[in-house]
Amino acid sequence: MAFLETNAPPEFWVRDDAGNHQVLCLKGDWTISTLAAAEKLVNDIKVDLHRLTCIDTSGIGEIDTSGAWLVHRVRGTLEFKGRRVELTGLTDVRKALFCQIETHHPPRYKPEKHPFSIVGFLEETGKQVINVGKDAFAMLHILGSLGVVLTTVLLQPKRLRGIAVAVQFDKTCIGAVPIVALMSFLIGAIISQQGGFYLKQFGADLYVVDLAGILVLREIGVILTAIMVAGRSGSAFTAELGAMRMQEEVDALHVIGLSVTEVLVLPRILALMIALPVLTFIADMSALVGAGLTTWVYLDIPPLAFLNQLQAAITPQTLWVGLVKAPFMAMIIGLIACVEGLKVGGSAESLGRHTTMSVVKAIFLVIVVDGAFAMFFAAVNI
């Protein structure tokens, strides 16, 4: 059809005119689709600089801005060598096009460099250290404003956004129940199977119950749930707040006179602090069911014996030691998620980076907090 015609390849030749003149003649189409060929071509142009007087463009079929730029560049390169070169054979429209192009002076092209140097490495390290400091500061900032908002809410309970908290609780807790229960069930089963495999060699099968009970209730239940929640809800918080920042929604809240901490951060963190203990309890129970089933099937310990042994092995305190850690971990996850979300800049890439950082930091700090609790409990002999 008429519009998608194939292009004539760009060509050139050098014509010797009378009077010891040389003319560079251009032919074919000089458009964006032939530009790759044209670019290679212009590197081959060889003329006798002392005799060249003009570039004849009358043979050019189609030309657009890209092609015109290339022709202009050829002319410019020749003129830089100290020779006045005229463009001839231009129609009025093309003259106007070249007039437009001629005003353009690109900066000297500098290819991008990616040097690896010790200086760069040190610079990067320094920047990271400063960023860690800034992060800590930002977290303290949010924590402080959270404290203020929490006090206001305690003094004026009406200002608590109950519905927002409920909605967030639904998202972070109810929605997470199936996956958390399934994961804990499997972990409970695996622990008791692995433990049983080794303890059977000493005839100490029954102590699998102690092993699984204490391990699950004190550590595994809460820490795995926290990691799951950090990945599931922490990333969601960061992405939500980040997208709101990108769309200037956070700024809109500011100018309407609403506190971002009160409207966005508090409901999320509060919901998470309720959700994580609940989820942990569900995880504990489901892991014990998994452990009970495995010991029954794999070690031939009937459920009744399992329950009796469990009753002897654990006390309510064991359960509480695990559960009491949950709100603190929830707070860490929520704080980091919100801080990272509010740091998102203008680009999609920044949203992705901060969401990644949010999950990584939250999981790391959850484990650190768990370690701190372990030391604390050891010190007070629990």
Partner: protein
């Protein structure tokens, strides 16, 4: 794309040779709400077509439907003489290389600098040296009236008007034959808008560019549009040069072109 084949009315309204974009019998509906109902439109080569219509009448939907971003329930669209549904992969690619789009919000890639944004189509479709791409990118930048140092900025660091210009520069990266502009001058100051109009008129004159422009800017419509199409009643309600619009007696068209705001500007 979910396109129901329509009954072939072979060449009843065959597009003329100089028609670069032919839309025939296009219907688009969202759920049960019909937005466009068997709409016909011809865009001639080299013209600047302004598209007006009340908010929510489907101007953007029509544009997105032509671009293949919104599925249509019936109809055919011919661009550069090719039927978009019947086009092979390579034909479609060459069609896409030869149109440029300026989205209403700019739609610049936020993780790339302005210069990299302009180079995206070049990188994907052509094999040029980095130096030439760099030169062309700054050339396009200057062509749309941006300073050269804007090239290294990220879209989030630009003002609204600069985003529009940068986005136009990207639309023009491959020297297209047909550009779609969705409200190019909205959000620009009058001086910037006038400069934008001049720029589009110039490009259209210099490069034989065909412009399909959705706009509400009466100044643009007066100064650069060769023809104006009015979208209403789910169809192209009226189409023609400004003079015809000024004497049209349809109440909506009358109040649009000869209303209080329109007359105040004279």
């Amino acid at each position: 794309m979910t396109v129901v084949e329509t009954i072939e009315n072979e060449d009843v309204s065959a597009p003329a040779e100089d028609v670069i974009l032919a839309v025939r019998d296009v219907s688009v509906s969202f759920g049960s709400k019909k937005v466009l109902d068997s709409l016909d439109l011809d865009v001639r080569r080299g013209e600047v077509l302004g598209f007006v219509g009340g908010s929510g009448t489907g101007k953007s939907v029509l544009m997105r439907s032509i671009l293949g971003l919104v599925p249509r329930q019936s109809g055919r669209i011919k661009v550069f003489g090719y039927d978009l549904d019947g086009a092979t992969e390579s034909q479609r690619l060459s069609i896409e290389r030869r149109w440029g789009v300026l989205f209403q919000q700019g739609a610049l890639f936020s993780s790339l600098t302005v210069k990299q944004n302009i180079q995206v189509p070049m990188r994907e479709h052509l094999e040029l040296s980095p130096q030439l791409m760099d030169e062309l990118a700054t050339l396009k930048l200057e062509l749309v009236g941006l300073p050269q140092d804007a090239g290294d900025k990220y879209p989030s660091e630009l003002s609204g008007g600069m985003v529009k210009r940068a986005s136009l520069a990207r639309a023009l990266a491959l020297d297209p034959d047909l550009v779609f502009l969705d409200e190019p001058t909205s959000g620009l100051d009058p001086i910037g808008a006038a400069a934008f109009d001049t720029l589009i008129a110039n490009l259209s004159k210099l490069l034989g560019l065909t412009v399909y422009m959705v706009t509400h800017d009466l100044d643009s419509l007066h100064s650069i549009c060769d023809r104006i199409a009015v979208l209403g009643h789910k169809k192209v309600w009226a189409i023609g040069p400004m003079e015809e619009m000024m004497v049209n007696d349809d109440p909506w068209i009358k109040s649009y072109f000869r209303g209080a705001r329109a007359l105040k500007r004279v």
